[in-house]
Symmetry: D2
Subunit: 395 residues, 4 copies
């Protein structure tokens, strides 16, 4: 089938040619005497993306899952009590990992379509007078439901209660796209990965670590080696790594960070909001609703669209893929069949969103869901152009 594949999943995202160019290099010697001249400024600039001045950022070969693992294995010990909440497939997976690592996990189950349950967190933390809760986990942007959570709200609670628990945050599908303030939000470990806001190939876990978290590593006795912060910190100090780093991905990361900083993080956030809003207008124009229960929960990086009863979301996804070369995200776990997801993060713009929405329309029509062709795309065009509705009638 001809033409480019339209990648409208919430990661991997589309990759700019600037990053492709940066990786168009021969393999290189990661122990070269001047290798640090490349890595030290990169690691430094990554801090700007995480918005931390006092913390550090570590880069591991891996994925977001590896980043989650690093967050708990470096800061906690067997049997430690932690507090987390589940409101989607990915928040579930991280909680599950904590159990595998023999932590004592308090899980609050929340509707899939809502975000972090602030009041429940407050309640439990308030009760925890002797500070048995060692860490609080938050999934900032639940990629499965398209819901963004209030991390600052959790920080406020911890501060108000003077609770010393670590704040560990999954920022995989938010960092580099949505507002994220590691220092200001008082985050101890912030987990991201290369294939989302960084617009890169999968293969890197990118993890921000606060001074406090780093100072606790010695006491944390969960076994770890590959994802060990201390060893990484020690080698990074000179610009090297404890084992062979994925140098060509690091070269791509250099280009990625340059692009994000050049655009300016505030502009990046505004762009994501503007583009996401067009998608939400399209969803409304189709007469459909999002998984996010309320507008203020809506993620600007991914929209989970609920299909009408009697329609199989997986049919739409298959038609999009096979008939129109469009990749949509599927409904994960309990949402399977009821939801398809449109990614709108990273290296994208208005017409790329229109292409994806056009593909969704073609696939929905093919699946038997009828609506006025062009209605969704038109709503997005209207939003992007600032045109008033029903211009012809107005004329």
């Amino acid at each position: 089938m001809t033409g480019y594949h339209c990648l409208a999943i919430p990661g991997p995202t589309n990759m700019p040619f600037e990053i492709r160019q940066a990786m168009e290099l021969p393999l290189e010697d990661h122990r070269a005497p001047d290798f640090g001249e490349f890595t030290l400024p990169l690691l430094d600039d990554l801090k700007k993306i995480f918005r931390t001045q006092t913390g550090r950022v570590f880069v591991f070969p891996g994925s977001g899952t590896g980043g989650w693992e690093s967050a708990i294995a470096n800061t906690l010990s067997e049997g430690d009590r932690i507090l987390t909440s589940v409101y989607g497939h990915f928040s579930h997976l991280w909680a599950d990992m904590c159990k595998r690592f023999k932590l004592n996990v308090d899980i609050i189950n929340q509707n899939w379509g809502k975000g972090v349950p602030l009041e429940k967190y407050r309640e439990l933390l308030e009760k925890d007078k002797n500070h048995s809760i060692k860490a609080v986990l938050v999934c900032h942007n639940e990629t499965a439901t398209g819901v963004t959570s209030d991390v600052m709200g959790v920080r406020h609670i911890l501060d108000e209660l003077s609770h010393p628990a670590l704040l560990l945050v999954d920022g995989v599908s938010s960092i580099g796209s949505l507002e994220f303030h590691m220092d200001y939000w008082g985050i101890d470990v912030a987990v991201s990965a290369s294939q989302k806001g960084f617009m890169m190939p999968t293969g890197l876990a990118i993890v921000g670590v606060s001074k406090k978290a780093l100072s606790l590593c010695d006491k944390a006795d969960l076994p770890r080696c590959f994802f060990d912060f201390s060893e990484m910190a020690r080698m990074n100090d000179d610009g090297y790594f404890p084992y062979t780093p994925a140098t060509n991905l690091l070269r791509g990361l250099r280009a990625s960070v340059d692009m994000l900083l050049k655009e300016g993080l505030d502009n990046v956030h505004k762009r994501h909001f503007r583009l996401a809003e067009g998608v939400r207008r399209a969803v409304a124009a189709w007469g459909l609703s999002t998984c996010a229960e309320r507008p203020e929960f809506s993620s600007d990086t991914v929209t989970a669209v609920k299909v009408k009863p009697g329609i199989d979301a997986n049919e739409i996804i298959k038609h999009a893929y096979y008939d129109f070369k469009v990749s949509l995200g599927g409904g994960l776990s309990i949402l399977n069949g009821d939801v398809f997801r449109i990614g709108h993060l990273g290296w994208t713009n208005e017409t790329m969103i229109l292409q994806a929405l056009g593909g969704v329309e073609l696939a929905m029509l093919k699946s038997g869901f009828l609506f006025e062709p062009g209605a969704g795309v038109g709503a997005a065009i209207q939003h992007y152009s600032g045109t008033k509705r029903l211009v012809l009638q107005a004329a």
Copy 2:
């Protein structure tokens, strides 16, 4: 500005990654002892694209303009009388080149929006009892107006009149996209270039030459060397070239030819028709008309859209480019300001067309031309999905 640039001009077209892959090679030795093992099958397979069994295909570093030059310089002599017609910028340029080469050029001027004037050709050829006309030129697909001409009609006339003039055809924006039959249509020189139907970077003139044309080279005394057919034929016989060939483009051409043959030329043509039809539906939905005066003239590789009086087509093109990262073709020569052109040839598909149409809508709205947002895109979606019009009302 973020996101991919949407290239909706009638060439260069979008390039498949398969071709990019094929060119991802170190530079190579064009006089290597086994170089012919690569070039001979490539030159042979190119004949399938031109649909010639008795002719040959030559590949020069160059562009379509170089191909035009090769067509006349190898077959004609100073003062030779030729017959051609002008119905757009490119047919004009070729005619002009003939004058620069000191040929005696009979030019028939035709409305820009029509194709080759068969009756006028018949008339002049009929009068030419002593066969002073040495060659008849036809621009198969006038890229400036989006009009496809009836080359077979010209062949019929020549045959009916038993006129021995050579038939030289500009197939730059048709070969590899539209129906084109070098042998069946009795074409003597067919000119193409890499950056259109071949989906490649600019840099190659690709020229089909009949046995008859080749046999006339010795008598043709226009000076030539770089574009000389005979020398090229002599070296090509062993798989080599008279001077350093553009080997990495040849590697890309190998991939291009493989892709076209794998899809099947008939499927390629059908795809171009189907996609072009969606564009034409969009134009109609916007209440606009095409430069092509009648539907049967419409090109399936490019559509020239006439804007409404009072609207500046160049404004639309600028907004598309600067505000939405979409490249549209401009109105060339006398069409400047009145026309913008949408290319829909080569490596494209439904959603890429929808992206381009969405970009056109955004740019038109920005330029002050009002219409129901999504109307054009919706009409194309309707066409591509086979949906009946006004489905909501029918429901």
Copy 3:
């Protein structure tokens, strides 16, 4: 500084353009409905490289270190007794990791320059009547010293003693280059990585796992998630992964496996032997010796060269890098300053070895170590050409 960098380290190795081409793709949807059509044959063909029919091969984002971690975390429990030996930097690191994972580690220290101490292994295993030793570790090819060990010898001992311990093998710098027989040698976990014999960028841990090892995962209670075999096996069964895989590296791996299988593993081994032998002749011609104490210990993927007293190996490495754009491996740990290493594995050939040797000669001369210029390169040329020594005298 102009010209290509000469990468003569023992990994990352030089990358063939075929692999570069294979990765020249847009990012893709790892949950696409047909993704398994790509991954299933790849995972199957990887078994041919490991030479296992009954085991499986897993691919993780990571490095060799991650592979080591997977080997122990999936098969062992806290406090389990294991037997290993240290004869270089990398065998040391793996042993150290085992301690971090709270295993009870019996370490046999061996001269750096020798391989696995078979007799000591036999002795300890023989004494272990109640089979308290759960796993025996072997570093097949110690990259720090250029010594290849006798894994089959360890297997024989285990078999003769009917000892049920698992056999875990570090094949990072041997698999895909040197003879390696996972099934025939009775290996339970075989660890490799992408940037050595696979000629790829760093970023993948590639791990072969026997049926026996896989069946023990349930009982092994070391915490793990990212590197979990069972979850990987479950998802791999359908051609998917438990988390986002590094798809572009997987595309490269496809090309790598194709190339290795096309050349034939036996030919790959012979080529490595032939090229390595040229390097060893050069070392001898310079009047230097290798770290490998005896010829039969010599690795065919890397040669560690001992410099003369009074010469600083790091000076040579720096001159090679800064003055001649040649990357050599350094002496690691206790070998620092006394040794430089020449990698000769992966995508290489005679003249690439000559280039590296030429670079070594230039750097040694620059560092003040005098010898007849060309002596080493000449010895290698003599070997590669099959020429008798001193041909001029013979003539």
Copy 4:
């Protein structure tokens, strides 16, 4: 066969990854409103490479042959008398092209191994009192023999005689590598191509044109269109081209020019001299001689090596290619079989030269030409390291 191909021909040369990166772009719109922002500075910087302030540089899709054609077709008329000399295959070809273009060509035949015959030129120009000679042609660097000619000497003669003939120079294998001063040497048309000193893929003719030459275009009546200077100049003034330019090659050219200017042309020349000298030392060490008759004729971009009687140079070339993946240049025309050529221009360095020389040694030994293995490589190493000969004996 494994490993990189060693490209030791005198063009195409090795291509730096910086240029590869620069061309790693989607195809683009050559009529984009801001295209001139890219092309205008590029065309300006090209003047620095040609070392002209008063002339212009034009870039055509094509090769050096196309550049030759542009030089004569834009400046001369049918029957014009020109003076040239032949001392190798390429000077012969250009002279031959002049005859095909119906010029009246005075050819001085010179030994292949010498350069431009200054005294003969002086003699003929002195006799030409009525200035019937309209142009004098010089091949600056004869790639077939490895001889560099004294262009400034020709200029001096023209100046001393106040002869107004144009000075047209083939600088294909010299510009960007060897000293070349378009203005200072009073050159009217200087022809180069992308695949030599510019380290790029083949596909561009790059032509410097003096004001004087440009002013004569109107009077020159040889037919031309594709290679027309005036039309190119007119469009270039705004940063555009008369027909679709090879944009991705232009992007590569931008990187090429940046690299050359960053290194500094004087450094580029010195580097070529230094590397070439190593090759010449190797040739001497093998007991062979160069085609260049005297040291001062020797080209620093290519060395043509004469083999011993009874040895077939083509055998050596074939063994190099098939057995060792090394591309050497062949003996062209009358030199066929007696000569092989080693290119040492463009993106190269000491160890790349050593690799090529090592390949030559392997191929010569394979072809039955006996010498002390390593003798040539060693002589080059000695030169590059500044080591005194026979260090061991001296020690």
